[in-house]
C-alpha cells in the first residue's frame, strides 16, 4: 500500500505527460504535491518501517532525505510552470521533460529508501539515465554534446559504483549469503567480514564512483558544464535531488566501512574532500556566470557534508545537507530569472525588480546568496560550527590534533576565498551595471518562498532534535 502511494504521483505524471494540452502543465505541477501524503504518513509511522520486505525500509535517515528531496521536487515543478517565459522550450520537449522526471522520481524512491545495495544501484542508474534526456530538452548543440558527456561520464561513475558493490558483496557473501546485499545486515556483521581488504577495495571504488558523480576531484568541471548547457530546472534537480540519492548511498556505505576500519576510511575520504575543496575554491574564484558559480559551490558543499560525516559529525552533515538541498535549487531557479535578460551578466543582475513580486524575489535571492556563504542565522553557519568542532574532537581522540588544526586552517582559508568571491559577486549584482526591468512570475516567487520556509524549518528546535536522533 505504502509503495503504491509513493509511486502513484510518478505514474500519474508519466501518464499525464502524454496529454497534448496547454493546461496540462498545471496538473503536472499539482501531481508533485501528492508525494507529500505518503511522506507525512511515513513520518508518523514507527521506524524502521518495512515498505517492501527487507528491500525498501523507511528509517529516520532516509525519511528525512526523502522529505527534503520531495520539497525540492515541488519547488522545481512550480518554477517549471513559467519555464517558457525565460527560455525557448517546445511544448513537446516540456511534456517529455516531465515524462523523464517521473522515471527519475521512481529511480529516486528506490535508491533513497532501499536497504539493498543492488536496488540502490538500480534506482540510481534509472535516475541517472532519465536525467540524460532532461539535459537534451534544451535543443542546442551545447546541450546535445553535454547530454552525451553526461551519458558517458555518468555511466562510468555508476559502473564504478556497481563494481565496488559487487566486491563488497563478494567480501561478505561467504558468511551472510545473499543477505550480504542488505545494508542493515552488512552493518550488523561488519566486524565479521572475512576479507576486509576486499570490502575496503570495493568501498574505495564505489566511493570514487559517487565522488565522480558529485563532481569531486578530478572531475570538477564536468557537472558545471552540463548544468550550464541545460535548462536551469535540470541544474536544480541535480543539486537538490540527484545528489541526495548519491549522498545517502555514501552515508550507508561509509557507516559499514567505519565499522570495518575507521582510520582507513577517514584518511581516504578526508584527504579526497580536502583536495576537492582546494581545487574548487580556485575554480569558484574564477567563475564568470551564475550556473558555474552555483554548481562549483555545490561541489564544495557536498565535499563539506562528506567531510563532516566521516569526522564523526553526522548531525552537522545532515543539517548542512538539508540547507544545501534547499538553497542550491533555489539559487539555480533564480538564475533562470537573473539571466533571462542576457546570459552571463552578473553586474546589475539584482537591479530592475519592481512591485511586490519583484521585491519579494529580490529579497529572497539576496537572502539565499548570503545564506549559502554561511552567514548567520543560515543553517550552514551552525552546521559548519558543529562540523569543525567535531573534527577537533575526533582529532583529540586519535592524537593527530596538530594535523587536524592545520587542515582546518587550510579549509578556513579556502572558505574565506569563496566567501570573498560571493560577496564580491553580490555587490556587483546589486550596485554595478545597468538597471533593466526584469520579469518575475508568481510561480517562481512561490517556489522560492517554499524553499525559504523549508530552510527556516531546518533551524526549528524540533527539526534539530530529529536530526540529532538520526545521528
Amino acid at each position: 500500500m505504502m509503495l503504491t502511494l509513493l509511486l502513484l504521483p510518478a505514474v500519474i505524471m508519466f501518464v499525464v505527460s502524454f496529454v497534448k494540452q496547454e493546461r496540462v502543465k498545471y496538473l503536472l505541477a499539482f501531481t508533485s504535491f501528492m508525494i507529500l501524503i505518503p511522506i507525512v504518513k511515513l513520518f508518523l509511522l514507527s521506524k524502521p518501517y518495512n515498505i517492501l520486505g527487507s528491500y525498501l525500509i523507511a528509517d529516520e535517515l532516509d525519511t528525512y532525505i526523502f522529505l527534503v528531496s520531495s520539497i525540492v521536487g515541488i519547488g522545481v515543478t512550480l518554477a517549471l510552470l513559467t519555464l517558457d517565459k525565460h527560455v525557448k522550450v517546445s511544448p513537446n520537449a516540456y511534456r517529455r521533460f516531465y515524462r523523464f522526471f517521473a522515471i527519475f522520481w521512481v529511480g529516486l524512491i528506490f535508491s533513497i529508501l532501499s536497504n539493498h545495495m543492488g536496488i540502490y544501484w538500480i534506482g540510481l542508474e534509472l535516475a541517472t539515465l532519465s536525467t540524460v534526456y532532461m539535459i537534451k530538452t534544451n535543443y542546442t548543440a551545447a546541450a546535445h554534446k553535454e547530454a552525451w558527456n553526461y551519458m558517458i561520464v555518468g555511466a562510468i561513475a555508476i559502473s564504478l559504483v556497481l563494481f565496488g558493490i559487487i566486491l563488497m558483496y563478494a567480501s561478505a557473501k561467504p558468511i551472510l549469503g545473499e543477505e550480504a546485499m542488505q545494508f542493515d545486515v552488512l552493518l550488523a556483521h561488519a566486524k565479521d567480514i572475512p576479507s576486509p581488504f576486499l570490502f575496503e577495495m570495493g568501498f574505495a571504488i564505489t566511493t570514487i564512483g559517487m565522488f565522480v558523480k558529485m563532481g569531486f576531484f578530478p572531475m570538477n568541471l564536468w557537472l558545471a558544464n552540463i548544468e550550464r548547457a541545460s535548462f536551469y530546472p535540470v541544474a536544480a534537480l541535480f543539486s537538490g535531488i540527484l545528489e541526495s540519492a548519491v549522498i545517502i548511498g555514501f552515508f550507508r556505505f561509509s557507516k559499514i566501512a567505519m565499522e570495518v576500519n575507521y582510520d582507513h576510511l577517514f584518511i581516504f575520504v578526508f584527504v579526497y574532500t580536502l583536495l576537492t575543496i582546494f581545487i574548487v575554491s580556485f575554480l569558484i574564484y574564477r567563475a564568470k556566470d551564475f550556473m558555474r558559480l552555483f554548481s562549483l559551490s555545490g561541489v564544495e558543499h557536498m565535499a563539506l557534508i562528506v567531510m563532516f560525516w566521516v569526522s564523526g559529525a553526522p548531525f552537522a552533515a545532515l543539517l548542512h545537507f538539508g540547507a544545501h538541498a534547499f538553497l542550491k535549487p533555489a539559487l539555480f531557479l533564480s538564475s533562470g530569472v537573473l539571466e533571462s535578460n542576457g546570459k552571463y551578466k552578473i553586474a546589475g543582475a539584482l537591479k530592475g525588480f519592481v512591485g511586490i513580486k519583484g521585491n519579494t524575489f529580490l529579497f529572497l535571492v539576496s537572502l539565499f546568496l548570503l545564506a549559502i556563504i554561511s552567514l548567520p542565522p543560515s543553517p550552514m553557519f551552525f552546521s559548519e560550527l558543529y562540523g569543525f568542532g567535531a573534527m577537533i574532537t575526533t582529532a583529540k581522540e586519535s592524537n593527530h590534533i596538530l594535523a587536524m588544526i592545520g587542515a582546518i586552517l587550510v579549509l578556513l582559508i579556502l572558505l574565506s576565498l569563496i566567501f570573498y568571491r560571493f560577496i564580491s559577486i553580490y555587490q556587483s549584482m546589486k550596485y554595478e551595471g545597468e538597471t533593466k526591468e526584469k520579469d518575475v512570475y508568481w510561480s517562481e516567487v512561490v517556489a522560492l518562498i517554499v524553499f525559504s520556509v523549508a530552510l527556516l524549518a531546518l533551524i526549528f528546535p524540533q527539526t534539530l532534535e530529529y536530526l540529532d536522533s538520526i545521528s
Binding site: 558517458i152 566486491l167 572475512p194
Partner: protein, 197 residues
C-alpha cells in the same frame, strides 16, 4: 571450460580495441556477450543455480543478439560513420593492453586467499573494465563509446558471475532493465529534433 570461455571473453574485448570498422566492433561485442552468457550458463549448471542459467539465457538474447541488432539499425538510420579509427596508435595500444593485464593481476594478488573462486577471474574482470574504458577513450565517435559502455556492463557482469557465484536475481533483472533504458535513452539522443516554438 570456464577458463576457456573467460579467455575468449577477454580475447574478443581486446580484438574490439583494434577494430576500425563499426559493424566488426558490433560483432566483437556480440561475441563478448555470447561468451559471457555461455559462462553464466556453464557456472549456473555446475552449481545448480537456475537463476544464473536464466541470467545466461537473457544475456545471450539481449546482449548478444538484440542490442547489436538495435545498434546496427540505429547506425543505418542515423548514418553513423562506419570507419572508426582509434585515437591511440596500434603500436601504443599493443603495449598498453598487456600493461593493463599485468597491473590488474598484480592488483588482485592480495585477494587470492580471500575469495573462494579463482582470483584470476576477478583480475580479468577488472582488466576488462579498464579495457572497456580504453575503448571509450580511444574513439572520438559516439558509437564506439556506446560499445565501450556496454562492454563495461559486461565486465561488471563477469565480476558478479565469477567473484560471487552470481548476484541476487532481482539485481540481475534490474541491471538488464537499466540496460534497456540506456538503449532507449541512446536512441532518443540520436534523434535530431526540430525546434517547434
Amino acid at each position: 571450460m570456464t577458463d576457456f570461455l573467460i579467455g575468449l571473453f577477454l580475447a574478443s574485448l581486446i580484438a574490439a580495441l583494434f577494430t576500425t570498422r563499426l559493424y566488426r566492433l558490433l560483432l566483437w561485442y556480440s561475441l563478448n556477450s555470447l561468451m559471457l552468457g555461455l559462462l553464466a550458463l556453464g557456472i549456473g549448471r555446475n552449481i545448480d543455480d537456475n537463476a544464473m542459467i536464466l541470467t545466461g539465457i537473457v544475456t545471450i538474447v539481449l546482449k548478444a543478439i538484440a542490442i547489436p541488432y538495435v545498434l546496427k539499425n540505429l547506425s543505418q538510420k542515423f548514418n553513423f560513420i562506419r570507419h572508426i579509427v582509434p585515437e591511440i596508435k596500434v603500436q601504443y595500444a599493443i603495449m598498453l593492453v598487456p600493461a593493463i593485464l599485468v597491473f590488474t593481476f598484480y592488483l588482485s594478488e592480495p585477494i587470492v586467499d580471500m575469495i573462494h573462486t579463482n582470483a584470476n577471474y576477478v583480475a580479468i574482470s577488472i582488466s576488462s573494465l579498464f579495457l572497456s574504458l580504453l575503448l571509450m577513450i580511444e574513439h572520438k565517435n559516439v558509437a564506439p563509446k556506446i560499445i565501450g559502455f556496454l562492454s563495461m556492463e559486461n565486465a561488471l557482469f563477469l565480476l558478479g558471475v565469477t567473484a560471487t557465484d552470481g548476484m541476487p536475481m532481482l539485481v540481475e533483472l534490474g541491471i538488464f532493465f537499466d540496460l534497456l533504458m540506456a538503449i532507449v535513452v541512446i536512441n532518443l539522443l540520436f534523434h535530431k529534433e526540430e525546434l517547434q516554438i
